[in-house]
Amino acid sequence: MALPRQSKYALAVLVLSHGMVLFAGFFSPYDPAVQNRELPFAPPVRIHFFDSQNRLHIRPFVYRLVASAASYAHYEEDRSRLYPLRFFVAGGRLLGVDNPAKIFLIGTDAYGRDQFSRFLYGGRISLLAGLCATAVSLGLGIILGAVAGFYGRWLDELIMRTAEIFLVLPSLYLLFAVRAVLPLHIAPSGVFLLLMAVIGAVGWARPARLIRGVILSAKERDFVLAARGFGASDLYLLRRHILPQASSVVLSQAAVLIPAYILAEVILSFFGLGVAEPSASWGNLLASLRQYNVLESYWWMLLPALALIPVFLAYNTVLSYYKCYSAGPARQTEFDKVL
């Protein structure tokens, strides 16, 4: 399948990011829960090729960070000893350095936890949350949309009116109202997934409306009538003829909903209503940015936020490409111009 350049990059970004998150145990140098109390808010490690005598080392190395006694979270490099970067270290990790040096690729937080590791492990929960909520949303949407579209009349009216009521509440307001349904502090993350399922359930309305539309037009088609003429049952018609017509709508809705629900988790956790400490998630990584001193002094805490941008951009690109693609080959050339 010939893909335009942008969507190739986008797919690559998605595969890369999801892959790294999936294999977080391999790609992250440390366990996300391990605290280094003596190194709070350590900046990202500096990787050197030239030592203090300006000699080149082929293998990059780091210096150990020593906390300055004078002030909080001020560090200096101890240049007395080099710690070369090690690959494929014991414990099944890709990257590492010998103790007591640390390789904090994007620094540490207030408890000295490696942000990079927390970002990768946290991504698991965030992505899983997004997938879980999307699955529930689509599942409910398909069932209710199919029932409304296929059986019509008062059932259709009832379901669509209810959908309208759900849709009239602004999405984030609804999100928070639903969030209130479960207790304030949720641990462990298993229960959080339950929360995401509930959130997904509440988001049934938009997919249901779209699917209902497809079903309405599909059920009038002649081949459905023909199958009915052979004595097909309703269930058979839905399964074999009608629902497959909705497949492209379902796919494009998935591409919209997954990033939306990931974002929902991020927002909830940011405001302290999502994944609880000490578990990491993308949202509660950003939560530290609510403190003034963090914003002011520790710029690397912003990096997880910036890292999310390419992921969402990739999802958007894939979505617009899919929309153009499913609209037919004529529109595919437009895609290059659209972006």
């Binding site: 009349r153 002649d222 081949f223 009538l225 199958a227 003429g229 052979f230 004595g231 003829h241």
Partner: protein, 272 residues
């Protein structure tokens, strides 16, 4: 349980296989809860009879209600009033368990074959589908009968696994007819089923249908505006105008001496 065609024998020329009695249908537009509706009368007190082993051609201009009548007679649509009796039993008041068996015996070929076949299916799937739905025959048997029927309509078996989209218009029409034949029905309703075909294919299919009818207990209802086709195929003719039957009778007699002015005008309009 009857499965397949009975050889043509004494049953032919004896009873009517299908009878329509005072069938009326109108289409209404409007929401289910509002009172004002807008209605169009499609069928107005139509009665006709199709004999066993015979062909009835339903002719008339477009919009006369031929398709609607065809669908009602096949059980695809429900008339507002009147009865449709198949083998003596009212189609629309059958107990649920008999509906399926009866459905097997009346088959409908749509006018637009392309729309009547699910584009996502392969040719083999499409023709096999009725057998699947009716839960007849083990799988090997189904396959065999599907391919057999394909051959009968003149499509090569090699093309069986291909998607419907890869077939031409004429071929799709043949697929639709094959699909209708695969259940070996007693009555086949063709809604302009042969009109869009080229001369060769049309000739071959009319030959096939005539042949089948001679050998087995099979009846046809031909809905067409092509009078020549009707003349060739039909034993009886019914003429429809604006939802009602204006004239009905044996083909030769009708063509020789049309009684109703509308029939006369129709025949005059046709060359040869």
């Amino acid at each position: 349980m009857e499965d397949g065609w009975q050889l043509a024998g004494q049953n032919c020329w004896s009873a009517a296989v299908l009878e329509a009695l005072h069938v009326s249908k109108s289409y209404t537009q409007g929401r289910w809860y509002s009172r004002k509706k807008f209605s169009i009368a499609a069928l107005n007190d139509v009665s006709l009879k199709i004999d066993t082993c015979s062909t009835l051609a339903l002719i008339g201009e477009s919009g006369a209600g031929k398709s609607t009548l065809g669908r009602c007679l096949s059980g695809l649509e429900t008339p507002d009033s009147g009865e449709v009796r198949f083998e003596g039993r009212n189609l629309f008041t059958l107990p649920p368990k008999d509906v399926r068996a009866i459905r097997r015996k009346i088959q409908f070929v749509f006018q637009d074959a392309a729309a009547a076949l699910n584009p996502r299916f392969s040719a083999c799937d499409a023709i096999e589908e009725p057998l699947l739905i009716q839960n007849m025959l083990p799988r090997k048997e189904r396959r065999r009968r599907t391919l057999e029927t394909m051959e009968q309509v003149g499509l090569s078996i090699q093309s069986a696994p291909r998607s419907i989209l890869e077939f031409s218009g004429g071929q799709r029409q043949r697929l639709a007819i094959a699909r209708a034949l695969v259940l070996k029905p007693r009555l086949l309703v063709l809604d302009e089923g042969l009109s869009s075909l080229d001369f060769d294919t049309q000739a071959r299919l009319t030959h096939l249908l005539l042949d089948l009818r001679v050998r087995f207990e099979l009846s046809y209802l031909f809905i067409t505006h092509d009078l020549r086709l009707a003349a060739r195929m039909a034993d009886h003719i019914a003429v429809m105008q604006r939802g009602a039957i204006v004239e009905c009778g044996k083909a030769d007699a009708l063509f020789a001496k049309p009684q109703h002015p509308y029939t006369q005008s129709l025949l005059q309009a046709t060359p040869g």
